[in-house]
């Protein structure tokens, strides 16, 4: 079992416009891959494809050197995805939000670990307040607590730095590098400049073009 996410000649067409074509990826353990590109270049779409949400792409995906179709369940149980929206229920407390996520991840229910995770993202003392009463940055932190709560090797994070203050950004950046150093892998889109380091790789998505094929 090894952490390896590959894509061969990946292409995505949205309403007759190619978002990207002929994309080859080989993502391994210990890497932080930053997907870059202008607005509308398909960053989010790429992350959704690579996290198994979108099926209408061309090309092939491999997880652990098996085709994604066969390895899907295995892939999903090693994946932690965070989208644009944090996925935090405003009417539930941070603790209750994490309870649901813990159950969905198939983890044993463990209140102490939930407290610890919230503590870790700087939400100590806010555990029992409805998330709707927290600030946008704090709600994002509730979602980020999943990175601590649910140990998964592959992180796919779409704009995780949104609405977070400077200290939080630094802490999150540390967390990403730490995860890569421990043999995990991070796939991320962000407008925030990540500190350059050995683990960091970039994928640049440009614009599509007129299709000349059949």
């Amino acid at each position: 079992m090894s952490l390896r996410l590959q894509a061969h000649s990946l292409a995505c067409e949205r309403d007759d416009r190619w978002l990207f074509r002929g994309l080859d990826l080989d993502i391994r353990a210990g890497e932080i891959v930053r997907v870059e590109g202008p607005n509308g270049s398909g960053k989010t779409t790429l992350l959704k494809i690579l996290s198994g949400q979108l099926a209408d792409y061309e090309g092939e995906l491999f997880w652990d050197e098996r085709p994604m179709r066969e390895a899907r369940d295995d892939f999903l149980s090693n994946l932690l995805y965070m989208g644009h929206a944090p996925g935090v229920k405003a009417a539930l407390t941070p603790l209750e939000n994490l309870t649901w996520y813990q159950a969905m991840a198939g983890q044993p229910q463990d209140e102490a670990s939930r407290y610890a995770a919230l503590d870790d993202v700087g939400l100590a003392g806010f555990e029992d307040l409805p998330a709707g009463q927290l600030s946008a940055g704090q709600q994002r932190r509730v979602a980020l607590a999943r990175l601590v709560l649910t140990p998964r090797p592959l992180w796919v994070l779409d704009e995780p730095f949104t609405a977070i203050d400077r200290d939080g950004v630094a802490a999150l950046e540390r967390r990403l590098f730490d995860h890569a150093r421990r043999g995990g892998c991070v796939l991320v889109t962000t407008h925030h400049e990540l500190t350059p380091c050995a683990e960091l790789r970039r994928i640049h998505l440009g614009g599509g073009g007129l299709d000349d094929g059949n």
Partner: protein, 246 residues
């Protein structure tokens, strides 16, 4: 802000997970419980369909006639149609909140089958809409001069039928969740599919009034529910995947 933030032990290597074992039941109950808690915290959303049901039933004697004989004749159909519309009212919000706050994506990305988790959400809709409507219907039946002896059948037929309605309606809700103004479209998609349930549900109450056998109707309602239970979750899951593609 605490000083401990971001302090992760660097020795522990990342753990890989094998194929998911059980956990489906846990995820199902967790989703069921979460949605129940969510709805019970916004109690007005649970109350709205019930109030709507009562108001619509009040409108008919005013609009048609207070004559008990006439009301008896139309009561079964009236109660069923009003309950059906009331259940439809809350359908639009079934997946909408999850779609907006991003938890729908997370639901799609669990290793658990999406159809089963969607079933948990539909079950909550029935528990907090269909079932209360069924329990409330006899009360409104009294106001429509429904003959004694048909109250039990009314409640049972509504309880059975509204489960099918929730399942079928959830398909429409899943198809329209990505659309900004899906509400009216949802009724257009779903109402024609409700007709068989309406026919046998209202038929059961009518049969009870005439003193005919009721079991046949209820059996068919049960059969429709069984069919919906098998097929609808698959359609809901497929529709949710389409909607999330945006």
């Amino acid at each position: 802000m605490t000083g401990t933030e971001g302090s992760v032990s660097k020795e522990v290597p990342v753990v890989f997970h094998g194929e998911p074992g059980g956990g489906l039941a846990v995820a199902f109950w967790a989703t069921l419980k979460r949605d129940l808690v969510l709805l019970l915290r916004r109690r007005s959303e649970v109350m709205n369909p019930l109030v709507f049901f009562a108001i619509v039933i009040t409108l008919f004697p005013i609009g048609i006639s207070p004559d008990p004989q006439l009301l008896t004749a139309i009561a079964p159909g009236l109660l069923w149609v009003a309950a059906l519309l009331a259940a439809l009212l809350s359908l639009d919000s079934l997946f909408r909140a999850d779609y907006d706050d991003g938890s729908l994506e997370q639901l799609l990305l669990t290793p658990q089958p999406l159809a089963v988790l969607a079933l948990a959400k539909v079950a909550v809709h029935w528990l907090l809409t269909g079932l209360p409507l069924a329990l409330m219907a006899p009360l409104l039946g009294v106001m429509l001069a429904l003959p004694a002896g048909s109250y039990g059948v009314l409640a049972v037929s509504l309880a059975l039928g509204s489960a099918s309605l929730s399942l079928i309606g959830a398909i429409g809700a899943a198809l329209t969740v990505g659309l900004s103004r899906g509400g009216v479209l949802l009724s257009l998609l779903v109402l024609p599919l409700y007709i068989p349930v309406l026919i046998f549900g209202a038929g059961a109450v009518q049969a009870a009034i005439f003193g005919d056998g009721v079991m046949a109707h209820l059996a068919i309602l049960g059969a429709l529910l069984a069919l919906a239970l098998i097929l609808a979750p698959l359609a809901i899951a497929a529709s949710l995947r389409i909607s999330i593609n945006g």
